[in-house]
């Protein structure tokens, strides 16, 4: 009952004009960043992170929710129009959406992608609101040894889901090494500062994130030929559509089948709850499942609307799911929630059952913002901007990237007031640029930066609790559970990956 009251008061907060403004701004930023290849919603939140320092927390979180929801959705826009997924999560959308575009059904594809995303996002948010109390009561049962095993689980699963696991381990080790520089979390000693007084304060989270994501991307993008980029995007600008073309009819949706929507949403939500899997995985699993049960699997890869819908529904349903472990346990479900966790940390809010029980008033507006983004803003944006979506890629590239270059580097200064940290961000950017060139994944890096220090603290605290006896991780039921889960995933995930690979190879042959 209390829960519902607080959710309602959260709704009231979101419907204040200022909140709605921030939500809309966030949503709009997310659309732009999601749609542009190379820019992701994660980067958008990274850039907003230092700016949120002086903003009331509620607004900052509301804005993040807008960015999060729209950023994942809008990757589909460029995926459909120019066959380049604007965000990695839109990879499967590409396969079905672009063939539709070529058949002249671009508006229909965007319409279905939007409505699918809206339905998925809404169901994900509703599940988040109504199931999270359950998650909380479970979370309260988890003590420090259990938390250690959970983080271990997350770190191991992240490595397993990556294609090149050896490189994932290296990325992760690099992230942990950087994050342990500075003061020891549990003792008054400084580590790895090599006598440099600037390093005693450690490397700030903002420095690491901006260096690894924004700055390295700027080096990468500098080699793109401008004229070619313009030619490519001009193709998208030449097409004309009416507003009504964008909204799919009920009949079409019934043909896709309500079960597809519900099933894809559930898959998305569950994959979101699992730490480290993320939107791409949600879209992929849901797409494969839709293909398995489809009445016309031969259409897949050639403009099958149900494949498109399954992928888009699932990746947005993932949003609600990914927030559950982040808020109740402090384990982010994907890269973007990892950074939202950073936003919470800036405000001194420590995720955990304490947060969801005692500070529901903080979380309620955030939940509602997520729900409104999906249920209201998405269809609304389709109506307002649908025809312009096909032109979004036309923003002058020079203006865009030079603005990002300035905002990113100043973001580090705003967070730390230190030119030393700016220099560190630049160095990390250069290193991560080479890492990326050699296909070292960066998601393990960022999760290691965030989870690594916690992993260390929990391990040490657990062992002082047991007077140094490592059996504490097995005798505690919660810890044992996560350890067993880790083992199960280590066996099952590679098998599932192989099956998925075989499937996609199959399709290529066809």
């Amino acid at each position: 009952m209390d829960q519902i009251l607080q959710i309602l008061s959260g709704t009231a907060v979101v419907f204040q004009p200022l909140s709605l403004l921030y939500l809309s701004i966030g949503f709009f930023i997310g659309i732009i960043f999601g749609a542009l290849p190379g820019l992701t919603s994660m980067l958008a939140i990274v850039l907003l992170l230092p700016m949120t320092y002086t903003m009331p927390m509620t607004y900052a979180l509301i804005m993040c929710m807008g960015v999060y929801m729209s950023g994942i959705y809008s990757g589909s826009i460029t995926a459909i129009t120019i066959n380049i997924p604007g965000a990695p999560s839109a990879l499967m959308t590409c396969m079905e959406g672009h063939p539709m575009m070529k058949k002249g059904l671009g508006a229909k594809a965007i319409g279905h992608a939007t409505i699918g995303s809206a339905i998925g996002g809404t169901i994900g948010a509703l599940l988040l609101i109504f199931i999270s109390p359950l998650a909380v009561s479970l979370a309260l049962k988890i003590r420090t040894p259990g938390k250690f095993s959970l983080i271990l689980f997350a770190l191991i699963v992240i490595v397993i889901v990556e294609k090149n696991r050896t490189k994932a381990v290296i990325s992760m080790a690099f992230g942990i090494m950087l994050s342990t520089i500075g003061m020891d979390p549990l003792k008054s000693v400084s580590r790895f500062t090599f006598g440099n007084p600037n390093l005693i304060e450690g490397i700030d989270l903002t420095t690491l994130i901006i260096g690894a994501f924004a700055i390295s991307e700027l080096f990468d993008q500098s080699t793109v030929n401008n004229a070619e980029y313009n030619k490519m995007t001009n193709a998208a600008n030449s097409m004309k559509f009416k507003r009504s073309d964008f909204f799919p009819s009920f009949k079409e949706m019934r043909e896709i089948g309500w079960m597809t929507y519900i099933k894809s949403s559930s898959i998305g939500y569950i994959i979101g709850v699992l730490p480290g899997a993320g939107a791409s995985m949600a879209a992929f699993v849901s797409y494969v499942e839709a293909k398995r049960t489809s009445k016309h699997p031969e259409m897949f890869g050639n403009g099958a609307v149900d494949g498109l819908v399954a992928a888009e529904t699932a990746n947005n349903a993932m949003c609600g799911g990914a927030l559950v472990p982040m808020l109740s346990l402090g384990i982010p479900g994907d890269g973007t929630t990892a950074i939202i966790l950073g936003v919470l940390m800036v405000y001194g809010v420590v995720p955990g059952p304490d947060l969801l029980v005692k500070q529901m008033h903080v979380m309620a507006p955030m939940y509602m913002a997520l729900l409104i983004s999906a249920a209201v803003l998405m269809p609304l944006s389709l109506f307002l901007f649908g025809p312009y979506y096909l032109k979004i890629v036309k923003i002058n590239r020079l203006v865009l990237y030079s603005s990002i270059a300035l905002i990113a580097i100043l973001g580090v200064f705003a967070a730390t007031y230190s030119t030393f940290q700016m220099a560190v961000a630049l160095i990390i950017g250069v290193v991560m640029y080479f890492f990326k060139k050699q296909k070292y994944p960066n998601v393990p890096f960022i999760l290691a930066v965030i989870l690594g220090p916690l992993c260390e603290q929990y391990m040490r605290t657990s062992l002082t609790l047991s007077n140094g006896n490592p059996m504490v991780f097995i005798t505690n039921f919660d810890s044992l559970f996560f350890l067993l889960l880790t083992v199960a995933f280590s066996i099952l995930l590679p098998r599932a990956n192989r099956r998925a690979e075989a499937l996609s190879k199959c399709r290529e042959v066809k």
Partner: protein
């Protein structure tokens, strides 16, 4: 036949430096204390664990890289020197100069110049100079308003 170039490829260099970094990391951790003090974990235990986990990975990548290189040499393949763009280097230089001078010259002088040169590097050839100057000033003003006015963050300025 210059075999040195073969060994200077990223697939060899990255794991090599990573391994060096790991060794420095673990040595400097062990200088602080032993990983186990009276049967309890200390500030160096976690770094030692990271070292133990990452070292096999780094070595595997290093040996894989070396094996590739040996094969290339045996097959007499020349390292394909791709014509590398100088632009990423220029981008790094612009950023480094900006950071180095930031406290000295401040936002108002540096930001427009930074954006201007950034756009120059990003463009295919130096063109539309006046347009770029206008954009540089505009972007600097917008970013300044966003940070300094909306979020009350004070940047260094030459007159402060």
């Amino acid at each position: 036949m210059n075999s040195r170039n073969h060994y200077l490829q990223a697939k060899v260099i990255i794991p090599f430096f990573m391994q060096i970094a790991l060794i420095i990391y673990v040595v400097s951790a062990l200088q602080l204390s032993s990983p186990l003090v009276d049967g309890m974990l200390s500030e160096s235990s976690f770094p030692v664990i990271i070292f133990l986990v990452a070292t096999p990975a780094a070595l595997k990548l290093l040996f894989d890289g070396l094996k590739d290189v040996k094969k290339e040499i045996a097959e007499g393949k020349e390292v394909v020197v791709k014509k590398k763009s100088i632009k990423p280097v220029l981008t790094v230089v612009i950023m480094a100069v900006f950071i180095a001078l930031f406290e000295l010259l401040g936002f108002s002088i540096l930001a427009p110049l930074y954006i201007f040169f950034f756009m120059m590097v990003y463009d295919d050839k130096p063109q539309f100079i006046v347009k770029k100057i206008i954009f540089a000033l505009l972007i600097a003003v917008v970013v300044y308003v966003m940070y300094a006015i909306a979020f009350d963050i004070r940047f260094p300025e030459i007159w402060r």
